[in-house]
């Protein structure tokens, strides 16, 4: 196989994805921009009028923003975890999905902290976090962890992009000038020589291991923001492992959904095959069961020992939040398990459907972790103002949440215009390996 010819072929195959924009894609981008614009408007309103415009009040001081923050950061960490494992263990079919996973990792780690910024009362004093940090505070740990993780995942993503940039740089004569310049700059002189390839592989491998460790440590830190307090419902010893498993759960689900959408819209059936979906589905099955197990442990021990504060919390969960609880922890767990358990049901659409249910269930689960605890403090609330007793999110919070999701999707689409979603260097490596294996076999014979 002639490398150069193969590379040219690949670029030809993938360049329409990078350059062409169809009507549907334009419409999509338009919708996304509209949603983001509404979100920006909501943000401006919030800055001008103060946090009064949200639904948060003195008892439930953390609402949808924090929930979205945990949700996106958990996507990120699980993405880091999964891509780290894929790379480190050189899983055979990893190539098709690895870039999707890595992009999800980085993007959700960018979108997540933006939500936390929305929850901060005095954005003009953000630099105090760096001027006067207190190392005993879990928030300081979280900032350090997220920043470190962001840099790490970014470096990791870039490392995987480099060979593709090199291929694109060498094979895009009919691309516009700015693209050529961009590729040249970003490829930093990678010419796939022996030394370069070796260095790059070494770096990627170290980073993949590090990113797994970072993911676990950093997400535990986020879980500790809740579990190191005294509040009923939060002060639990298994919060950190629980969050990690929940993160994996949602991460796999988002990966499956992303695979489905990308496969459909970019007609990549050749690359993203059923095996990817079934493997991801099996992982989702295992993780759902783990997640269900952890959730059950959490609530079962509270219910069984029924301390007063726990009993009040459960009362609220099964009272006001009954349907959300059922959806999140029963349907959200059992439905994916059911679908993925039976081989016959593991079709691509059904697996994707299971993932959608899983994601919604997980988001609701995060809501049920944050809000009901704040609504049942140790000392009774005893206030007559409804908004101080129960939390209802306002349109500002909802529009900002959707804007966050839209931003995530938009950045994803834009990144896909920069670099093909299936790593070309990966395909080449794979084929090269196949060739050398065939060669070995033939020489042996």
């Amino acid at each position: 196989m002639d490398l150069d010819i193969r590379k040219r072929e690949l670029v030809k195959e993938f360049s329409p994805m990078l350059t062409k924009s169809t009507l549907t894609s334009k419409i999509w981008i338009g919708i996304l921009i509209a949603v983001i614009a509404t979100g920006l408007l909501a943000f401006v309103l919030q800055v001008v009028k103060g946090h009064e415009v949200t639904g948060m009040r003195d008892n439930v001081v953390w609402g949808i923003y924090i929930i979205n923050f945990i949700f996106f950061v958990c996507l990120s960490y699980s993405g880091a975890f999964i891509s780290g494992i894929l790379h480190f263990f050189k899983t055979p079919w990893k190539n098709a999905v690895s870039r999707i996973v890595e992009i999800i990792t980085v993007l959700s780690l960018i979108v997540g902290p933006i939500f936390i910024l929305l929850c901060i009362g005095r954005l003009d004093r953000l630099h105090y976090l760096f001027l006067y940090p207190r190392i005993q505070s879990p928030i300081t740990w979280d900032i350090i962890a997220i920043m470190t993780d962001l840099v790490g995942c970014f470096i990791y993503l870039y490392l995987t992009f480099i060979p593709d940039f090199a291929i694109l740089r060498d094979n895009s004569e009919d691309a516009p000038n700015w693209r050529k310049k961009l590729y040249r700059f970003l490829a930093i002189g990678y010419y796939d020589t022996e030394t370069q390839r070796k260095t790059l592989h070494k770096l990627t491998r170290t980073m993949s291991a590090m990113v797994i460790a970072l993911a676990i440590v950093a997400y535990s830190v986020l879980a500790w923001i809740f579990s190191l307090t005294l509040q009923p419902g939060w002060n639990s010893s298994i919060f950190a492992p629980y969050f990690i498993v929940a993160g994996l759960y949602s991460g796999i689900a988002v990966i499956i959904i992303a695979m489905y959408l990308i496969r459909k819209f970019y007609h990549l059936e050749h690359y993203i095959r059923k095996i990817h979906f079934t493997s991801a589905g099996i992982i989702l099955l295992i993780v759902s069961m783990l997640y269900g197990y952890f959730t059950f442990s959490e609530y079962f021990s509270r219910w069984f020992s029924h301390k007063i504060s726990d009993a009040h919390l459960l009362e609220t969960l099964f009272g006001k939040y009954f349907w959300q609880f059922i959806l999140a922890n029963y349907v959200g767990v059992l439905l994916p398990v059911f679908i993925l358990f039976f081989k016959k049901l593991r079709t691509i659409p059904l697996i994707t459907f299971a993932s959608v249910v899983a994601i919604l269930g997980l988001w609701l689960n995060r809501y049920l972790i944050v809000v009901p605890t704040l609504e049942t403090p140790y000392l009774p609330i005893q206030d007559t103002r409804e908004e101080f007793v129960h939390y209802t999110a306002t349109w500002i919070e909802w529009s900002l949440s959707f804007a966050g999701v839209a931003a995530f999707i938009l950045f994803f689409i834009l990144l896909m215009r920069l670099v093909p979603i299936i790593p070309m260097s990966g395909i080449i490596d794979y084929e090269r390996d196949q060739d050398s294996k065939k060669h070995k076999v033939s020489t042996q014979n």
Binding site: I135, W141, G152, G189, L203
Partner: protein, 296 residues
């Protein structure tokens, strides 16, 4: 004609409005009872405080108390032939008028040795005049705290000036002994003094301040003859054993537990060292790539 009328009307209208504003709320003084109280205290430094409390209390709502503000109260020391004016004080926002007489002031006393004091408020259009008198005998208190034969002894001696202006021990006197706190005094013993002297062993174990110092007070509360008298002595009998020291290097102190710094440094160093290593290697790749490009 019309314009003239108009100007007249507006001018007088404005004038009338101003008048009414100046008057503000015209309350009905019949709803209020005027309370005028006068008392005197001989303070710790032997100065004498003359205090008048001048308020109006609503007859129906006993919690509605309006202090008289800015009323002139004139204090006198009444003598046989004439009254010596001691001073004029205006009542403050709480309705108190306070005059402090210096410790060595020579008062005019009457035949039985009483100092006659009067506090007078001159009548105004709205309020009638008020005057209250009281008679006090000057009481001299000596409070001594010593350790006699390793027994903490508190001695209080009380003298008054009799008709011949010589110091004579007081026959009977109710005294409250108390310990000085930051905000108020805490009584620990009530006694009746006889023959002008009282001695007792101090047994209360009050902590005092961090050096074991505290003030011990003897307090005569509104005696018929002597009014209110207060005297104090400093002692070092506080049993202050230890001040609760705030622990350092805790979760809530400025400086965190040391192990936190250590662990964080190790983790961060390890991770960021790897990032630097990666960046360094990327630069190496770039250098090699540049070399190849130059060759081409």
């Amino acid at each position: 004609m019309k314009s003239k009328l108009f100007t007249y009307f507006t001018c007088t209208m404005l004038f009338g409005l101003l008048l009414s504003f100046g008057v503000q709320a015209q309350i009905n003084l019949d709803d209020y009872k005027i309370l005028y109280k006068f008392n005197t205290t001989k303070q710790v430094d032997n100065t004498r405080l003359l205090e008048v409390s001048f308020v109006a209390r609503n007859n129906e709502d006993k919690t509605d108390i309006l202090p008289l503000y800015g009323a002139d109260i004139i204090f006198y020391n009444e003598g046989d032939s004439n009254d010596v004016k001691l001073g004029t004080v205006q009542t403050d926002q709480e309705g108190f008028a306070r005059l402090v007489m210096p410790a060595d002031y020579k008062y005019i006393t009457d035949a039985e040795g009483y100092i006659n004091l009067k506090a007078r408020f001159k009548s105004t259009d709205a309020l009638p005049s008020k005057s209250k008198s009281l008679a006090v005998k000057d009481l001299f208190l000596e409070l001594v705290c010593e350790e006699i034969d390793s027994v903490k002894t508190v001695t209080l001696r009380a003298y008054a000036l009799d008709s011949s202006m010589t110091k004579a021990p007081v026959e009977e006197l109710d005294v409250i002994f108390s310990v000085g706190g930051m905000i108020s005094r805490m009584p620990f013993r009530e006694e009746t003094l006889e023959d002008g002297e009282f001695e007792f062993e101090y047994e209360a174990n009050v902590p005092g301040d961090k050096d074991g110092n505290f003030d011990l007070y003897a307090f005569i509360d509104d005696n018929d003859d002597f009014g209110t008298v207060l005297v104090s002595a400093k002692t070092n009998w506080g049993t202050f054993n230890k001040q609760v020291q705030a622990k350092k290097n805790t979760l809530w102190s400025d400086v965190a537990p040391i192990w936190m710094y250590v662990v964080l440094s190790i983790l961060l160093l390890g991770v960021w060292a790897n990032y630097v290593y990666s960046a360094f290697n990327l630069l190496k790749i770039r250098k090699e790539g540049k070399a190849i490009e130059d060759k081409k």
